[in-house]
């Protein structure tokens, strides 16, 4: 009996050790060449799951993508527990510093953030200017029949409803794009609030996720909120036109979002598309990037694996783009595509370019 118990204890200790040990080796978990691990942006998840399932059917490469949020994806890439991350925001200084090595930002598609409102008596599409949007979200405009709104929307009978602002309560790339835009176009916003995936909102209510903000807007007469284009389209919500840098009022759509990216881009694609120079571009838009290490030889990764990864993204920015529009994502513009191709060509394995 005594011996038996000792044996049992010994066995369980061995099992425990083995279990712990396999936990330490998690990096080699991505060593399997036919599986690629990714994590990050929730925004791009519907597109990625479509792309990866099509890609798996044609090539057999399995991609396991977890939509844990851009910040989480960056963290996992930093810890090298995934092969790629996906983010709606470029790495900030602290994140870049923690990575230590070059990380490529490959644009995958772009998305837009639209202003959605609930005014039961209004059927026309409202027009907004950048300063008006900033004034609303700073809490300075209290009523919908305020002179600043009526002056811009001559002919529309605006109700005497209080303006109720809805914003995201969770940290998100949508908030980042929206606040980056406001910081660019409005000096007061930049000094008082600033930009980020979570900010200190001067006014309004917070809802969790696009669905949370959409819920607040749909339920509350007089509410206005910012929501992703794809979500608004799928749920057929009312949204406003916005004046862009060239002075045109642009209706948010997949086409005007793609157009926003059709400008001279920097070679690393690390750029915010907000307040775009494109005359037909919708001004609140941005890329979602796939993030990979520039030098793919780390943690004993095989060359096959690195090649698979780069080829996957090459396919995404070419053949994969045709799946964007059906899911209300904006495909890359021709100038964005050229930049993305060059970025992928710069990925190396042991110093040698992966794509020949």
């Amino acid at each position: 009996m005594n011996l038996k118990i000792k044996k049992l204890i010994g066995l369980s200790v061995i099992i425990l050790l083995v279990a712990c040990n396999s936990g330490d080796n998690k990096n080699s978990g991505t060593g399997d060449n036919s599986t690629v691990l990714g994590a990050g942006s929730t925004f791009i998840y519907p597109l990625f799951s479509k792309l990866f399932s099509v890609y798996k059917d044609s090539t057999g490469l399995k991609v396991n993508y977890q939509s844990i949020g851009s910040g989480g994806g960056i963290l996992q890439l930093t810890n090298k527990t995934v092969d790629f991350g996906a983010s709606d925001a470029q790495l900030n200084e602290e994140q870049t510093q923690k990575m230590g090595v070059d990380v490529l930002h490959i644009p995958m598609c772009s998305g837009a953030v639209v202003l959605s409102y609930n005014l039961p008596s209004v059927t026309d599409t409202l027009k907004f200017t950048p300063d008006l949007v900033a004034a609303i979200f700073l809490g300075k405009i209290k009523k919908w029949n305020d002179l600043q709104i009526t002056a811009l929307n001559a002919g529309v009978k605006l109700p005497d409803l209080p303006v109720i602002i809805a914003h995201r309560s969770d940290g998100s790339g949508t908030t980042n794009i929206f606040t980056t835009y406001l910081s660019k176009v409005n000096a007061e916003w930049q000094t008082k609030v600033g930009k980020g995936s979570s900010v200190n909102w001067p006014a309004g209510l917070g809802g969790k996720g696009n669905e949370g903000v959409a819920g607040l807007v749909k339920q509350t007469p007089g509410a206005i909120g910012y929501i992703e284009l794809a979500y608004v389209m799928q749920n057929k919500m009312a949204f406003g036109k916005l004046k862009n840098k060239s002075g045109n009022f642009i209706t948010p759509s997949v086409a005007s979002t793609s157009a926003a990216g059709n400008i001279q881009l920097p070679a690393d694609a690390k750029v915010s598309l907000t307040n775009t120079d494109a005359p037909d571009g919708y001004p609140i838009s941005g890329f979602t990037w796939a993030l990979i290490y520039k030098e793919q030889k780390y943690n004993n990764r095989s060359q096959d694996k690195a090649t698979n990864l780069v080829k996957l993204f090459w396919w995404n920015i070419h053949e994969g783009q045709k799946y964007c529009e059906g899911l209300n994502y904006a495909p890359l513009s021709s100038s964005a595509l050229t930049v993305a191709e060059n970025i992928l060509r710069s990925a190396t394995y042991y110093g040698k370019p992966i794509l020949q």
Binding site: I68, G69, G71, S169, D170, G194, S198, P202, K208, Q219
Partner: protein
């Protein structure tokens, strides 16, 4: 088993080994019980230390003023827990005040008036079911049904008609915490010795007088414990609250204002906290919530003790 025992009695040597085994088993059994109980202690202490260690960057940068500073601004890396501390305490205590009359009434009705029979049984099961429903369902129900009702009410009394806010979250929380005090109260009221009650009746007391003068005084420490359980639940509730509280870090000016709680901020912002101090400030928020719960529990224990010994 009986067969084996009979064998042991027949053979003296085996009997000794058998009782030796029994003693060993007793020891092992006792030790495993102790280890299991100790594991709880280790886990709680472990959580506390993890929270302290992970909050260090934030404690070092922001210092003690973190507790009472009023701005939560991730952009300029300034963090203050005060609005959320206030929001947590406001929603929890308001919920408690709303829920107490209901939970006591349910406890007295099911413990004294309707102890058996199908209606009593059905009500008892329903009360327990309230505790078993996942909180996201309460949140969803509140968002769809309760928020428009509260908004109409707010329009009538002339405050900003948000619909969401501290008042709405308190109502949802109140519903969620009713079963904790009610179930415990019901059990305790049923345990009141019938000799005491019969004594009161024989002195000419009415049923209401028995409840007021015999049952409630006899069970008050237990009822307090039930309230404490409810409060603990209310302090930590995340999902249902975050769906209807309005999630703003502006300090609430009335119970109809939107606000935010510590648990809700953590759940909302943790995934995208992209800087060390930011992440650490969120973990410090968890530490504060942990300490608040501990302190409230300790105060509650004192109160229960006082009720028991006077």
């Amino acid at each position: 088993m009986a067969f084996a025992m009979g064998k042991c009695i027949n053979k003296g040597v085996k009997k000794i080994t058998y009782s030796y085994r029994k003693v060993r088993f007793e020891n092992i059994f006792r030790r495993s019980l102790m280890l299991t109980a100790l594991a709880v202690l280790i886990i709680v202490i472990g959580i506390f230390f993890t929270l302290v260690v992970q909050s260090m960057p934030s404690i070092k940068t922001l210092g003690i003023k973190y507790i009472w500073s009023k701005t939560w601004d991730p952009v300029s890396d300034m963090y203050g827990a005060f609005p959320f501390l206030l929001g947590t305490l406001l929603t929890s205590f308001l919920a408690l005040i709303i829920s107490i009359p209901f939970s006591f009434a349910i406890a007295v009705y099911l413990g004294e008036y309707n102890t058996t029979g199908w209606l009593g049984g059905l009500l008892k099961n329903m009360v327990e079911l309230i505790a078993a429903v996942p909180s996201v369902i309460y949140g969803f129900w509140a968002l769809v049904t309760l928020v428009p009702i509260v908004r109409n009410f707010e329009t009538k009394i002339g405050v900003a008609p948000y619909g969401v806010g501290i008042f709405t979250s308190s109502i949802v929380l109140a519903i969620m915490i009713v079963p904790y005090a009610a179930s415990l109260g019901r059990e305790l009221i049923r345990l009141v010795p019938s000799s005491l009650k019969e004594g009161a009746y024989s002195l000419g007391a009415t049923r209401y007088e028995v409840v007021k003068n015999v049952i409630l005084p006899h069970t008050k420490s237990g009822l307090m414990a039930g309230i404490l359980l409810s409060l603990g639940r209310a302090l930590g509730e995340t999902m249902a609250v975050t769906m209807v509280i309005g999630n703003t870090s502006i300090i609430p000016t009335s119970i109809f204002s939107p606000g935010n709680t510590m648990a809700s901020v953590i759940a909302n912002e943790f995934t995208e906290a992209d800087r060390t101090v930011y992440l650490s400030a969120l973990i410090e928020l968890a530490l504060v919530l942990f300490l608040v719960t501990v302190v409230i529990n300790m105060i509650g224990k004192r109160i229960i003790k006082r009720f028991t010994y006077d």
